[in-house]
C-alpha cells in the first residue's frame, strides 16, 4: 500500500518459525525503511515478540529470507544483529541499578586507552547521545536506581544509539509508564525517526502506536493480517484486524480506506 521507490532497510519474506506443534510465525512478510517507524501490533501470542527476536538474532527462523539493504543476510546471533546495525531494547531493559548512567550506556564496551577507562570521554559521549534524544536526565553520573521508569527507558534507548545502529527494535517501550514518561519515550521515537533510523515498535497501546508510527503491521495467530497507513486508518479498523473481525484478502495486502479530504482544521 505504501509505495517507496528506495530499497527497504530491512526486508523479511516468508518468515516461518515453529515450536513443535505451535506455529509462532507462518509465512510472515515485513519491511522497514530508513526514516520510518513501523509498529507491530497484535494480541498476546500473535507473534510480535518472536518476529522481533528474529530481527534481533535471538531466534533463528525455520525458513524465510531476511535482507538488509537488499542483500540477503542471516542473523544467527545478537552479535551478528549488532554488526548488521540492528539494536534492540527488550522489555526488561537489562540495566544495572548500581551503576551510573554513563556506565550503563557503555556496559560491556567501555572505552579504554591502554587499559585505562576513559571516563571523561565516555561522559561526553553519554551527554551528547542523551541530548540527541532530547532526554530529560539531569546528570550522566546519576545512579540508575535514582531514575524513574521513563528515564530508564531513555537510558536503554540511548544505549542502543552508541553502536550507531540503523534499525532499532523497541519491545513495549511504554508499558507501565506514566503519561509524562510515555510522552518522553514517544518523543524519543520521533527523534530516532528524524535521525533517519528505521524503528520497529512493538506495543499494545493503540494510542501510542498511532501517535508515532508511519505504518502499522498487524499480526494475528502468527500471520500477517493487514498493513495500515497510520495517518489514514482509524482506531477501529486496526482493532478489527487484531481481533480478526477484519480479514486480509489472500491475494492483496491491505488497502487504505478511501482517501479522505483531510483538510486541516
Amino acid at each position: 500500500m505504501v509505495e517507496r521507490t528506495r530499497t527497504p532497510l530491512l526486508t523479511m519474506r516468508g518468515i516461518t518459525k515453529r515450536y513443535k506443534a505451535v506455529e509462532a510465525l507462518v509465512d510472515v512478510n515485513f519491511e522497514v525503511h530508513a526514516h520510518e517507524v513501523v509498529a507491530l501490533v497484535g494480541d498476546n501470542g500473535a507473534g510480535k515478540s518472536t518476529l522481533a527476536k528474529v530481527v534481533a538474532g535471538v531466534v533463528v527462523p525455520d525458513s524465510g529470507l531476511v535482507e538488509i539493504d537488499g542483500e540477503p543476510v542471516s542473523i544467527p546471533s545478537p552479535k551478528a544483529a549488532q554488526r548488521l546495525g540492528v539494536a534492540t531494547v527488550f522489555q526488561d531493559l537489562a540495566l544495572c541499578d548500581n551503576l551510573d548512567v554513563t556506565a550503563n550506556l557503555f556496559l560491556g564496551r567501555e572505552m579504554r586507552n591502554a587499559g585505562v577507562m576513559q571516563d571523561g570521554r565516555m561522559e561526553n559521549i553519554a551527554r551528547s547521545v542523551l541530548r540527541d534524544l532530547s532526554s530529560r536526565i539531569p546528570s550522566v553520573r546519576t545512579p540508575l536506581s535514582h531514575l524513574s521508569a521513563g528515564q530508564r527507558q531513555s537510558v536503554a534507548i540511548a544505549r542502543t544509539l552508541l553502536g550507531s545502529p540503523r534499525i532499532v527494535v523497541l519491545d513495549e517501550p511504554t508499558a507501565a509508564l506514566s503519561v509524562a514518561h510515555t510522552a518522553e519515550v514517544l518523543t524519543h521515537i520521533e527523534r530516532l525517526r528524524e535521525m533517519g533510523l528505521g524503528v520497529i515498535l512493538i506495543s499494545h497501546n493503540m494510542n501510542d502506536v498511532r501517535a508515532v508510527s508511519d505504518r502499522i503491521e498487524v499480526l494475528r495467530h502468527g500471520r500477517n493480517n493487514g498493513s495500515f497507513d497510520a495517518q489514514r486508518s482509524s482506531y477501529e479498523e486496526i482493532i478489527g484486524a487484531i481481533t480478526g473481525a477484519w480479514q486480509m484478502a489472500p491475494a492483496s495486502r491491505a488497502s487504505a480506506p478511501a482517501d479522505r479530504e483531510a483538510a486541516g482544521r
Binding site: A180, A183, T187, E190, V209, S234, A263, G264
Partner: protein, 424 residues
Amino acid sequence: MSRRAASAGSQSSLREANKALVVTTVQRYGGLTQVELAAATGLSAATVSTIVRDLLAAGVVDTAVTTRSGRRAQMVTLARRVGLAVGIQIGHRHLRVVLGDFAHEVVAEQSLPLPHEHRSDTSLDRAALLVVDLLERIGSELDEVVGIGVGVPAPVDTSTGMVSVPGVFRGWEGEHLARVLDKRLGRPVHVDNDANLGALAESTLGAARGYRDAVYVRASYGTGAGIVINSRVHRGFAGTAGEIGHVQVDPQGHICRCGSRGCLDTVVGSAALLEPLRASHGPLTLRDVVARASGGDPGTAQVVADAGATIGAVVAGLGMAVNPQCVVVGGELAETGEVLLRPMRDAIRRRVLLNQIAPLEVVPAELGARAEVMGALVLALQSADVPVRVDDVGDLEPAEPAQVGDRRDRDDQDDQEDRRAAVG
C-alpha cells in the same frame, strides 16, 4: 462604574486604584522594570516606585536587580506564592503542556505525540494526567494552580468553551471542553482557539509586543489567524474571527471539512501539502516536510513556498480589513523560516495598501513553536482571580498622605478609567 464613583472621592482611593493598576499590569506582562512599569501604566516614576515598595512589603510582588540597556534596573514580578498556571495546546498531532508562574517563566514543559484524528475523551484524559505528572515533577500540587488555559485548532465559543463550528475538528464537537477538564483537575479552565492564543502570546511576550494592532498567522496542519486590535484579541461573535483557513481560494476546488468549496485549508492544509510530494518523496509527514525544506531540499521547499504565497494572498485581505502594524507568522511551517516567509511577505506587501507611516512588518513568531501554548498560559494567568485586589493590599497602606496635587496621577487615573470603561 462603582470604581469611578469611588475614585471621585478621595486621594487615597485614587492611590488604591493605581496600586491595582500596577498589579494588573505586572500580571499582564509577567515581569517589568520600574521604568517600563511607569511607561505601561502612565503613572509617574515616583508613584510607581512608592507603589512597588508598598506591594513588596505586602508580599504581592518580588523585585530583583536586572539590567536594561546596560543600566541597573529593578525588575518587578508577582511573587511566586501567587501560584502557577497551566497552558495546554491540543494540536492535530501533538499535545503540549507548560507550567508557568506569573512572570511567564516556564517551570515545566512536556509534549506528547498524538494519533491522527485523536479524540477528545482520550486526549483530555492524557492532558489531565500530564498536568498532574508535571506538577509532581516540580514538587507542586493542583492547589497551587490558579487556572488552566487550553488551545484547540478550531474556533471556540469562549463563553461555553465548546468548539463553535461543526466539522473542522473531528471528534471534538459538542464537547464542553472546559467542563470536562475542570472535572478532572478541579481548577478554572479557559478554552480558546490556538491561533488566538498565539496572537495573545506574541502580542504580550513576543514579536508583536509593542504593537497595538497585529495579526498572528498560524501555518500548521491547518491555517488560522488571530487578530489583535488595540492590544486585545478580537474573537468575534462566535469565535470564528480570523478563521482564514476557510476563506475560499479556489472556487473549483475540493470540498472542505467545513462544507464549503475550495477553502484555503484544502489548498495548504497538511493533506494538500503532502499529496503532491508522494510521487517524488514517498509518504512524508508535515514535520518531515518542514525538516527537509529547512535543510534545503528543493521539492519540499517549493511546496512550502507556494503555500506561503497562497496564505499571504489571504492574509493580505485580512490585512486590508484590520490594518495591522505587523503580521507574525507561527505554526510548524514557519519553522522553515524565510522559505515560507519570503513568498508570504511578497504576497502580502503586493496586495496591502502602502502607507507612508511605516511598512507592514511580516516577521516570524518570537516564541516559535511555543507561541500557542504560551498563549494558553497567558490566558490562564490573565483570567486568574488573583488575591491582589485593592482590598487585599489596602490594609498595608502606609499612613503617609497621598501625593496631593499630583496632576499627572489624576489625569492618568482618568485615562485608566476611560480605558477600563472601554474595555468593559
